[in-house]
C-alpha cells in the first residue's frame, strides 16, 4: 500500500539523531514486546509479512508518532486477535476468558537459542526458471497495491539492471494475504540515482534493491 511507511525519498521527516552508548532497549517494556513477538511467532498463526502489513496499515499519523516497539505492540496485539490467540475483550481487560482452555507454549526456554540460531530461511525450491540474467536491463512495474508490497514507490516504473540472482524467495505480496508463498526468483536490481531522482543526483551514484520477478518487465 502507498503508506507513510514507504518513506524512501520523502522530505521533512525529521533529523537523524545519534545517541552515544545506546542501550539495546530504552525501557524494559521494549524488551518484553520484542520477546513476546518472537515467542508468539512460534505458534505460526501468521507470517512475518502479515506482521509488517499490520504495522503498515496503522493510520499514518499514528505510524509517525509512536515509537518503533509501540508499532510492534500494535502489530502483535492486532494479529493475536485476528488469528484467534486472544479475544479483543481479553486484550482489553488483560484477563483470560475463564472458559478458555490453557495451552502449552510451543517455544520453551530451553529451545530459544536453537530456534533463534536457526532462523527462518525464505528460499524455496521451485520449478519456475528465472526470466532474467545478470546484466539484463529491466523496467519495474508501475503497481499500487492496497496491500503489502516490497516494491517502494520511488522505484516503480524505473529502469535498472540485474546485478545478482538470489534463488527463489517467498513472495511477501501474496504471503502477507495468506494467498500462498508463491516463491519466485529474487534479484538485486541496480538503479542509477539519476533514474530515480533526476539530474541533481551524482551521476556515479546508484541504489540497489532486492526485487521479486513479478515486479519486473524486460526493458
Amino acid at each position: 500500500m502507498n503508506g507513510v511507511h514507504d518513506m524512501g525519498g520523502m522530505h521533512g521527516l525529521g533529523p537523524i539523531v545519534r545517541e552515544q552508548n545506546e542501550p539495546v532497549w530504552h525501557a524494559p517494556w521494549e524488551a518484553r514486546v520484542f520477546a513476546l513477538s518472537a515467542a508468539i511467532g512460534a505458534w505460526r498463526r501468521w507470517p512475518g509479512d502479515a506482521s509488517r502489513q499490520q504495522i503498515e496499515q496503522m493510520p499514518a499519523a499514528d505510524y509517525l508518532r509512536v515509537s518503533y516497539y509501540e508499532k510492534w505492540l500494535h502489530g502483535l496485539t492486532e494479529n493475536a486477535i485476528r488469528h484467534g490467540l486472544v479475544t479483543r475483550e481479553e486484550a482489553a481487560t488483560g484477563r483470560p476468558d475463564p472458559l478458555a482452555p490453557k495451552a502449552t507454549p510451543p517455544l520453551p526456554a530451553a529451545q530459544v537459542a536453537e530456534v533463534m540460531d536457526r532462523g527462518g530461511p525464505k528460499t524455496r525450491e521451485v520449478a519456475r526458471q528465472p526470466r532474467f540474467r545478470i546484466g539484463d536491463a529491466i523496467l519495474t512495474r508501475n503497481i499500487h497495491p492496497l496491500t503489502h508490497t516490497r516494491l517502494p514507490r520511488f522505484a516503480r516504473g524505473r529502469p535498472g539492471v540485474i546485478t545478482a540472482l538470489h534463488g527463489a524467495h517467498v513472495f511477501p505480496d501474496t504471503n502477507a494475504q495468506f494467498q500462498g508463498e508463491n516463491a519466485q526468483p529474487l534479484y538485486t536490481v541496480r538503479f542509477q540515482a539519476r533514474a530515480l531522482w533526476g539530474e541533481a543526483a551524482n551521476p556515479r551514484d546508484t541504489v540497489c534493491l532486492d526485487l521479486w520477478e513479478d515486479y519486473l518487465d524486460p526493458a
Partner: protein, 208 residues
C-alpha cells in the same frame, strides 16, 4: 503515546517520554499470554538475554577483521556471506541470507531499509534508534551524500555511493576499507577497531 519534541522528531531513544501507559499495556498483554499458556515466561527472559548478549556488532567486527587478515576468508565472504559468517559461528534470524559488500576507493556502500528497519541481527545486533528513524529511512536513498556528511563522512565525487535498500530478506554487511598503518596488527587488534557504523556504511574505520 510519546509526544513530539520541539524538533518534531520521533523520540525513540533514551530521553523518550513513553508514558507508563505503554508499559502497563505490555505488562497486561504479557500476563494474559502467560496465563493462557501461549508463551513461557522463562522463554521471554531467554529471548531478551539472547539479544542482549549473544548478538551484537562485535560479531560483525570479527567477520571484518578475519576478512582483512585472511584473503581466502575474504573471498569466501564476498562469494557466500551466509556460509562465511557461519564459519565464525554467527547465524540465525535476520541473517539467513547475508551479502557482504566491499568498500573500495571506487565504491562506498551504505545500507538502509526504507520500508521498515531491516538489519542483520546476527552480526550487528538490534538496530540503533537512528537507523530506525524516519529521517534516515527517508533521506538515505535520495541524499546519501548529505546523510554521510552528517555522520562526518565526506565521499569524493569520483567515488560511487552505492545505497543498499534491503527491501527483501537479504541482509547486508558492509566490509569497510582496512585503514593504512594497521599492517602489523593482529586479528584481535583489528576487531577492536571495527565499529558498528562502519559496517552499516556511515563511517570509515580509523587506525588508532
Amino acid at each position: 503515546m510519546p509526544s513530539h519534541g520541539p524538533d518534531g522528531h520521533d523520540h525513540d531513544h533514551a530521553h523518550s517520554t513513553v508514558p507508563d501507559d505503554t508499559a502497563l499495556r505490555v505488562k497486561a498483554l504479557e500476563s494474559l499470554l502467560v496465563e493462557k499458556g501461549l508463551v513461557d515466561p522463562a522463554a521471554l527472559d531467554a529471548i531478551v538475554d539472547y539479544y542482549e548478549h549473544k548478538v551484537g556488532p562485535r560479531n560483525g567486527a570479527r567477520v571484518v577483521a578475519r576478512a582483512w587478515a585472511d584473503p581466502a576468508y575474504k573471498a569466501r565472504l564476498l562469494a557466500d556471506a551466509t556460509a562465511a559468517i557461519a564459519e565464525l559461528g554467527y547465524a540465525g534470524r535476520q541473517g539467513e541470507h547475508m551479502v557482504a559488500v566491499e568498500n573500495t576507493p571506487a565504491v562506498h556502500n551504505m545500507v538502509v531499509c526504507t520500508l521498515c528497519s531491516c538489519y542483520p541481527w546476527p552480526v550487528l545486533g538490534l538496530p540503533p534508534a537512528w537507523y530506525k528513524s524516519a529521517g534516515y529511512r527517508s533521506r538515505s536513498v535520495i541524499d546519501p551524500r548529505g546523510v554521510l556528511r552528517e555522520f562526518g563522512l565526506d565521499v569524493s565525487d569520483d567515488t560511487e555511493v552505492r545505497v543498499w535498500d534491503s527491501t527483501a530478506e537479504v541482509r547486508y554487511l558492509v566490509l569497510p576499507e582496512r585503514p593504512a598503518g594497521t599492517e602489523a596488527m593482529t586479528e584481535e587488534q583489528l576487531t577492536a577497531l571495527v565499529t558498528r557504523d562502519s559496517m552499516i556504511g556511515v563511517a570509515r574505520v580509523s587506525a588508532p
